[in-house]
Symmetry: C2
Subunit: 384 residues, 2 copies
């Protein structure tokens, strides 16, 4: 009987989870002693013992994986209770699953660590594969999924900037995902071909939002340029740490937050009398294949391959991560990070990446982020 | 002295105005007796007598035009008064401008017609080049800019559908541009690879919106599928013809409408207790180059070329338009349409393109729209 690997997806989709899955399948296929299965619908698929044989899929479907957004296996946000971890280990044992690969964000790495603690006594090895557009997993240089979300936003902001500059009559507020960390919003700064270009202002949840400073900055920029482009993280907080928009509705565990972009656009119109509008690409920004980062995709594949190699070398209790060797030329190596170091340890933007006024990023951040979005953004025509 | 063409952009940007500009420049360059200028900042550029010599631009900048969104000349939404038209003609005459090309939407075609009525006495020829993502100009089969906005939305909805299906816990409302006409929202139906796939519901401003039917449909689909994708036009109206969201703020001529997407998401959460969210790509959807339709771009170039050819053949008082020859294989020819037939004659979706319940489009619409978005959308991996 072959040694069985089970792959599980957890948490919100990205543009490259399926690229990691592709890497796992490709590497497994190189080892005749290994079989690889995918849990259908995330951790719920383990409880239902619902999985599919990934080596038996049509080649055409496998080859499309790196260019398929979201999760081809399905994922979940199921909150696990203490007794669930033991049950998962029992299911794995009963089905002779020797290797568990858990591909997810902070919550999934926590789950992964808890399963591993129980599983090791049964000879079951567990590794985590990181995945989050939010880039908020600790220790690793960055997370698969972030580079693509960053490329999406930087490109979209560069294009919106052309629009706003061509008809310079309004303030456009673009809302970025990332409720607790501003990594995605920050990446929009890569849209600038020269200093002073859009985005003109960038607001991150790592800094309290001061409406009076915001209005002062917008007013000045509007007088100077006509059209102003602002990028705001969906998770902006006031000086007292509370969200700047009240939740519109709360239903059990689900909160519908008001839109930060709309809130700021209304503020600009009301207080400054300047035409404003908001754009909120939302989940489109984590699902775009046209704006996927090639670096992100290739790295995500590599992480999947490395995870399988590490399992077969007997490794357990780690998350695969990146260690940066150099910014330029860009080079990152794949490493193993003990799960205990990353479990639920949310990483926010460090101070050195944010400017003093809290309305922009620093050059150091740009050096960090630039290689992750892949090739340079397209240049646009400039007539004079 | 050369015969001088002046190109003017009017109204909101699209992904292919600059492609039409490229066509104008390329065609003009083929005629040594012609010079071509671009008004800077739309019709305001005429009043300021601010224009640039388009044959003197660096080749690199010209070659980028078809892949540059918005307007490389700048555009405006300036409302013209009766006396302005005469002044424009005086300025053209004083500067020996023989040919005027006005590239814009319904408002611009109206302007174009009014200038032409006064200009013909002075031997000045005037032609319109259509341009609008809204696809609401009369007589022409479609408008340059629409195919790209349609491709953007269809692709984005197909990708969001992957996301919602992978984590099927919520209703995602995607708001589409098009305040009075539903052409863009309708195009999202091209995201479906099979019947029954997302978008599950499509709402257009051509039909009154009935909240109770909407909630009934969402509830049924949620029970069946878990994740539901709804596309809603920003201009939805109630049975009495008023917008379903009250304007949040009115400042002079500027109205900040509340977001239809947010409104519907809140309705779903409040009335059905189902998690919901909204996405509103807004101006990103008219500026995307990665999702530009190749058919739209090539046709936009051809329209620019044809406009110059028509001017040199002595034509005046027309808008360049498309006449469809066949859906499959797709073929459209470029024709001249008298400006009087299109001036401010807004075209909405005809009844035959909308289903009986008013929550979807018909196959006839799909046959109309499919060729306009260019090559087929990418296929995604499906594992089983």
């Amino acid at each position: 009987m072959k040694d069985q690997i089970l792959v599980v997806h957890g948490g919100g989709p990205t543009a490259v989870i399926n690229a990691s899955l592709y890497g796992v399948i490709q590497e497994a296929a190189r080892h005749p002693e290994v079989a690889v299965y995918g849990a259908v619908g995330g951790v719920d698929g383990i409880f239902r013992e619902a999985w599919i044989d990934l080596l038996q899929q049509p080649e055409e479907q496998l080859q499309r994986l790196p260019w398929t957004p979201a999760s081809a296996l399905g994922t979940s946000r199921t909150k696990l209770l203490a007794e669930d971890y033991q049950q998962i280990v029992s299911i794995l044992k009963r089905n002779n699953i020797r290797y568990l690969l858990f591909n997810g964000g902070n919550g999934s790495m926590d789950t992964c660590g808890k399963i591993q603690e129980l599983a090791s006594a049964h000879g079951i090895q567990v590794l985590g594969i990181p995945k989050t557009i939010d880039n908020d997993i600790a220790v690793t240089d960055h997370c698969p999924g972030y580079g693509s979300a960053a490329r999406y936003l930087a490109t979209s902001v560069a294009e919106a900037a052309q629009d706003v500059q061509a008809l310079p009559i309004h303030v456009s507020i673009i809302e970025a995902m990332g409720r607790n960390a501003g990594w995605i919003a920050a990446a929009s700064a890569l849209a600038r071909r020269r200093a002073g270009m859009a985005p003109h202002l960038i607001y991150l949840p790592e800094r309290p939002f001061h409406p009076e400073e915001f209005l002062e900055d917008v007013d000045r920029l509007h007088k100077e340029l006509g059209g102003v482009v602002v990028v705001a993280s969906e998770g902006l907080v006031n000086a007292d740490g509370r969200p700047i928009v009240e939740p519109l509705l709360t239903k059990g565990r689900d909160v519908y937050f008001g839109d930060v972009g709309t809130h700021l656009a209304v503020l600009v119109m009301k207080e400054l009398g300047i035409k404003a509008r908001s754009e909120k690409p939302g989940i489109l920004g984590r699902a775009s294949i046209a704006l996927q980062s090639a670096v992100d995709r290739e790295e995500a594949i590599r992480v999947g391959e490395f995870a399988v190699q590490s399992l077969l070398e007997g490794k357990t209790g780690y998350m695969v991560g990146y260690r940066r060797v150099s910014d330029e030329p860009y080079s990152c190596e794949t490493v193993l990070i003990p799960l205990a170091e990353v479990m639920l340890n949310e990483r926010k933007m460090p101070d050195r990446y944010i400017n003093a006024r809290g309305n922009d990023v620093t050059d150091e951040f740009l050096s960090y982020c630039r290689p992750l979005i892949g090739e340079a953004l397209p240049r646009f025509s400039e007539l004079r």
